[in-house]
């Protein structure tokens, strides 16, 4: 089946079998390997992307279902103006170690902040509960999202110095 999508702003077409999962289209046909695959049961969130601005697990959606839609992946976060606030937040707060979960986490966080520009810690934790991270213990991911929230709102940026008891 011939489908047409907008991937990070660029029109793309592809001929896919109906059973092709969106994540495979993105990774294999469009060579955007920032979107990861971490499980086969829709449990890990490594494959999270945005479809018309809504976060989705691209391993649980057929490529044919997004015909005509706009897809945003981690590759689209960086713009001419530099890092996206969420990328800056992750970088400044040491919110990634191995980086496997990071693209999915960031894409999820983008929608989270879109809907709730100033989330509490609890709202952030529940908001990323569909994304597993094996490395960071989540503390710094929470800090990164708070940082991005402040940056987007134009509020004072929280300190990125590690806090010790």
């Amino acid at each position: 089946m011939e489908i047409k999508i907008k991937l990070n702003g660029t029109e793309m077409t592809a001929d896919v079998e109906p059973r092709t999962l969106l994540v495979h289209l993105i990774r294999e046909k469009f060579s955007s390997t920032g979107t990861h695959i971490g499980c086969d049961t829709s449990s890990c969130g490594a494959c999270t992307i945005l479809i018309d601005g809504k976060s989705a697990k691209s391993c649980t959606i057929l490529a044919v279902q997004v015909n005509g839609k706009e897809i945003s992946t981690v590759e689209g976060l960086l713009t001419a103006e530099g890092l996206h606030p969420i990328q800056e937040g992750f970088k400044e707060n040491h919110a990634l170690h191995c980086g496997f979960c990071t693209p999915g986490m960031m894409m999820r966080a983008v929608e989270l902040l879109e809907k709730n520009p100033n989330p509490s810690e609890d709202e952030i934790r529940w908001g990323i509960s569909g994304n597993l991270c094996r490395c960071t213990g989540y503390n710094n991911i929470v800090s990164a999202i708070k940082y991005a929230s402040a940056k987007i709102r134009g509020a004072e940026l929280p300190s990125t110095e590690p806090k010790f008891v």
Binding site: C39, D40, C98, E121, T136, G137, Y138, N140, P162
Partner: protein
């Protein structure tokens, strides 16, 4: 493969960013070998992809240690002796890259942080029809298992004799001035200040306040528990006299080349999988040579260019390759000094070093920066001296390092559903000198979540026929940001006396130290039910079963 083909020099392994490791990437899996063989046979590149279900079913596993731990103490609680007997499930083959001389790894560290001189340890390993076992999952060779045994049995002792577990620990700790300390099983602990760590953790969490709150809660029938773990880790394998893997000594290496521009490339025999080597190693070299860290490019993971090394696992990278970096940098500093003496026309003894430059004692205006000296190494070096500015060091550690920590956790348990909420968790680590606080803290956060996992969630289950029962992430329960509490971390600093920069490893301390703290907290909460020990993972359902078997639950549910 290289061995079989006898052509090691023709084989190149390149490892780019590969995701986390945690021990699971130590073994050689059949898939690797088959992919290589198929590539030889077909002459085309072969990619082997393992999906998550295959990964859970067939990858190596860790921790299947069934331990019987006994402790002997005086009536007052002074520990006299311990005896651990282990039945270890290693699956169909042992997957661990274990030091040859230590078939049970470093399990004999299990006498812990306590001052006593009699210990007995025995381990029987068995092969089963499970996947390859015995891997060191974020743990330097069985240390998690050993620490779990000692830290929970100490608490069992405290519960049995009715002594506060913190007090019991204070009365038994090896004291600061007893280091270096020879353990009953023959290890020489390098340094530690266990009392300071526990005091700091208790203050941070308000231990006394929590105990008061617990008394009130118990009166109301509410289940609240406080758990402590004061563990000693053993990392940085290891000294060549004792440590090898199939004959190859467990050194690690660094190779630094500073270009005429003053910018450097440093190569290592280790491989970061998210531990931040690029940052930490660059900082070590920067500190030693006075070159800005951002001018140092760290490269790992290419067998064509990397010096020989044993790799990254068992918290060994900073203790070994980090030390090698410092030593190689010092060799370069010595060379720089010779060049400075030549250029400034003074004797080496007349020179003073401050980060970034050598100057003449008493005449600080006469100086040469490291960048000038490096440039001179290529353009104007003394006659007879080899040109260039590069050094390699293979570091053979004189001893292992013994990081340690004091962890305290508070749990609340729902007395109807037995759901466990980790309300607070304070972790005070001592990994000696800290090179990068943000990275060390990040490692601790991550390790703590990996500590809560086996304590409360993760376990591979099999039916009687050996079929895996929870072979997907639907049922193999990896904690999310909601299960993971907001970690509170801190440190005490007791440098390692034998490490070039006084650092110890840290990556695994939290995975090692957290499970007993949580298990102890849960047992403490269940103390009113007479429970003094439970095997991990401790789930709400397991609590229910335990209480039911003891006949302690309301009987009005019998149908």
């Amino acid at each position: 493969m290289a061995g079989h083909a006898g052509q090691k020099h023709k084989i190149r392994v390149v490892s780019p960013d590969i995701g986390g490791g945690f021990g699971g990437k130590v073994p050689i899996y059949p898939g690797y070998v088959i992919a290589i063989a198929v590539s030889f046979l077909t002459g085309v590149p072969i990619k082997w992809v393992e999906d998550r279900s295959e990964n859970l079913q067939a990858d190596s596993f860790a921790r299947d240690y069934h331990i019987k731990a006994e402790i002997a103490a005086t009536k007052e609680g002074k520990i006299q002796a311990t005896r651990f007997k282990v039945l270890a499930d290693h699956g169909y083959t042992d997957a661990s890259a274990n030091p040859s001389k230590f078939p049970t790894g470093l399990f004999s560290i299990g006498t812990g942080s306590y001052d006593y001189d009699t210990a007995y340890m025995e381990a029987d390993a068995v092969y089963t029809n499970k996947p390859p076992g015995g891997v060191a999952y974020r743990c330097s060779f069985r240390v998690t298992e050993a620490v779990h045994a000692i830290e929970t049995v100490v608490d069992t002792l405290a519960l049995k004799i009715g002594k506060d577990p913190a007090q019991l620990r204070f009365e038994n700790f090896i004291k600061k001035d007893q280091f270096p300390w020879k353990s009953p099983t023959g290890w020489e602990y390098d340094s530690g200040d266990y009392k300071a760590g526990l005091e700091k953790a208790m203050k941070a969490i308000d231990y006394d306040g929590l105990r008061e709150e617990q008394v009130e809660k118990r009166k109301k029938g509410e289940l609240m528990g406080i758990g402590i773990s004061t563990f000693t880790e053993i990392v940085g394998a290891g000294p060549s006299k004792d440590f090898d893997i199939l004959g190859i000594k467990m050194f690690d290496s660094a190779e630094i080349r500073v270009h005429p521009t003053g910018k450097a490339i440093a190569r290592f025999g280790t491989k970061s999988q998210g531990q931040g080597h690029e940052t930490t190693y660059a900082q070590i070299i920067a500190e030693e040579l006075g070159i800005p860290a951002e001018n140092i490019q760290v490269e790992e993971g290419d067998t064509d260019t990397a010096p020989y090394g044993l790799g990254t696992y068992a918290s060994r990278s900073t203790p070994t390759a980090g030390a090698a970096a410092a030593m190689a940098a010092r060799k370069l500093r010595d060379k720089a000094k010779k060049i400075a003496a030549y250029l400034l026309e003074v004797s080496e003894d007349d020179l003073e070093w401050e980060p970034g430059k050598f100057s003449v004692k008493g005449a600080p205006e006469k100086s040469k920066t490291i960048q000038e000296l490096v440039f001179a190494a290529y353009t104007n070096h003394p006659q007879g001296m080899e040109a260039g500015f590069e050094a390699t060091h293979y570091y053979d550690p004189p001893n292992l390092t013994f990081p340690n920590g004091a962890y305290i956790c508070v749990v609340d348990i729902d007395s109807d559903t037995f759901e466990i909420n980790v309300r607070r968790f304070v972790a005070i680590d001592d990994c000696g000198n800290i090179i990068n606080p943000m990275i060390v803290q990040g490692q601790v956060h991550g390790g703590l979540t990996q500590g809560i996992a086996p304590a409360m969630y993760e376990e591979l289950l099999y039916d009687d026929d050996g079929n895996i029962l929870n072979g997907t992430l639907m049922d193999y329960l990896v904690p999310t940001a909601v299960e993971s509490p907001s970690w509170e971390t801190g440190h005490t600093i007791t440098p390692s006396p034998h490490h070039p920069i006084g650092a110890k490893g840290v990556g695994e301390s939290p995975t090692v130290g957290a499970p007993p703290a949580i298990a102890n907290a849960i047992c403490d909460a269940l103390k009113p039910y007479g429970i003094t020990h439970m095997n991990i993972p401790i789930t709400p359902f397991k609590i229910f079963k335990t209480l039911q078997e003891k006949g302690l639950l309301d009987t009005d549910l019998k149908i």
